[in-house]
Amino acid sequence: MNPNPAFRLLKIRQEIPGRTLLEVPELEFPTGEVSALVGPNGAGKTTLFRILALLDPPFAGALEFMGEPAAFSGPRWLELRRRITLVHQTPFLFRGTVFQNLAFGLRVRGEPQAIWPPRVAEALELVDLGGFQDRFVIALSGGEAQRVAIARALAVQPEVLLLDEPFANVDAGRISRLEALISEINHRLGATVIFSTHNLGQAFRLTSRVVTLVAGKVAEFGHENIFSGTVEGEAAEPWITVRGGWRIRIGPGVSGRVTCSVPPEAIALRPAGGPGASECNCFEGEITRMECHNGRVRLRVDGPVSFRVVLPDQEFQRQGIRLGDRVVVSFTPAAVKILEAKP
């Protein structure tokens, strides 16, 4: 196993004229592990993936791949690119058959034709599409096309597999299978896998190595419960309106369009139905997930607005909270962290 991280980014900046898309002072993705990249749309996930896949050179900064400087041109570029494969969020399949698509990476590498059929069959089996070799890609459903694209990347047996929003176009029934596939690719093939999602819970289900991107910057760990909205109300008691028309009160002094986060540790829980303070941010919901982690309990409360909550173990024990309980989450306006404000 390579002791160096698969990727090390140093002072990477990517921009288009007039706008910075990504700014990463320092970041590493460990070799041989699954990492998740989490963030809302437009946070820079795809931009980062295109740099990691060596498709776009960064505007500034240095990228190391397996301990060596990455190349974005010349023969070394080709050599490095052949060890990394990116599956696009809305993948493009070449005209022709599924087999032609899967064999493409083998063909351009000059692999002997004799190994194409077994490698293609193996990759298709992994994504539950055994026997699809002779299908024409125009006849595939959206979900099948997505899986063919993943199989096409697996066929070349990359050291690093980058999956940009692999769950975006997958029907709900297949999500858990795809999650299992990601672990399998990592375990069985030994590949380093980096995938992006906007679902933090999903990220944590698959790995403890989660990188959060907000507005092109790596957010400190713990930036969960992220909301965006336009500031309304009086200057002293402003709020933003989130999906479903619910209001989240925030601290004074900001205006415009904001992205904010409610730290899971700053959220208090109490059983539903009891008396409560009306001035604070209170949302009722049901506990749908519980995980223990280093003396703390991570909970998911699903309601009209869903929250991730972290409680110290003792507090959790004291309250006697169980899965399926109805609870009220509450937090003060001052606890809401403003991550970004645009006029």
């Binding site: 498709l55 494969t85 070449f94 493409f104 990476g105 990347a153």
Partner: protein, 211 residues
Amino acid sequence: MELLGIIWVSLRISLAATTLAALASVPLGFWIAVREFPGKRVVVVILNTLFSLPTVVVGLFVYGLLSHSGPLGSLKLLYTPAGMTLGQWILATPVITALTYAATKGVDERVRPTALTLGADGWQAGLMVLREARYGLLAAVVAGFGRVISEVGAAIMIGGNIRGYTRTITTAIALETSKGEFQTGLILGVILLAVALSVNLFVHAFLRARP
């Protein structure tokens, strides 16, 4: 038998001119589409304008080049099929180049990065873009062929309509019409369409075999 000879001359010259034009224009159109360079827009506008290049003007220009006292007069290509091929090559080139440019531009922009990330080198990725554009490329070449087989201005000025040598379907139509033989002219027109139809059917069959 004379008719078969005329069809043969037409086909031979048009196919040769289209093939030569395609060999230069497809790579050129592709290159213009994928590269950024100063004045690119101007080049594209000029190419599209050359669609309307009058065939007699090209005929006149090549006539001047090839005539006895012209710069290429010593090649003795005036009134020969080779000279006509040169004129038709000039006519087909902008059409195929501009349509190749459009076809390449129309290819999904994910094709190149997808090919690259699957391990293709620059050439292999470029070929994949061309492959995805192949319907448009064939349409470009067919349009170039249509342009040259149907034109009369350059063919008559450079070829001279010499019976059994440089007489094509279109120059024969012009001759028959001027003689008042409208019926023969019309029949020749139908024959020209039939020839064009055959070429298009062939191309279509080729495409259907490779979806």
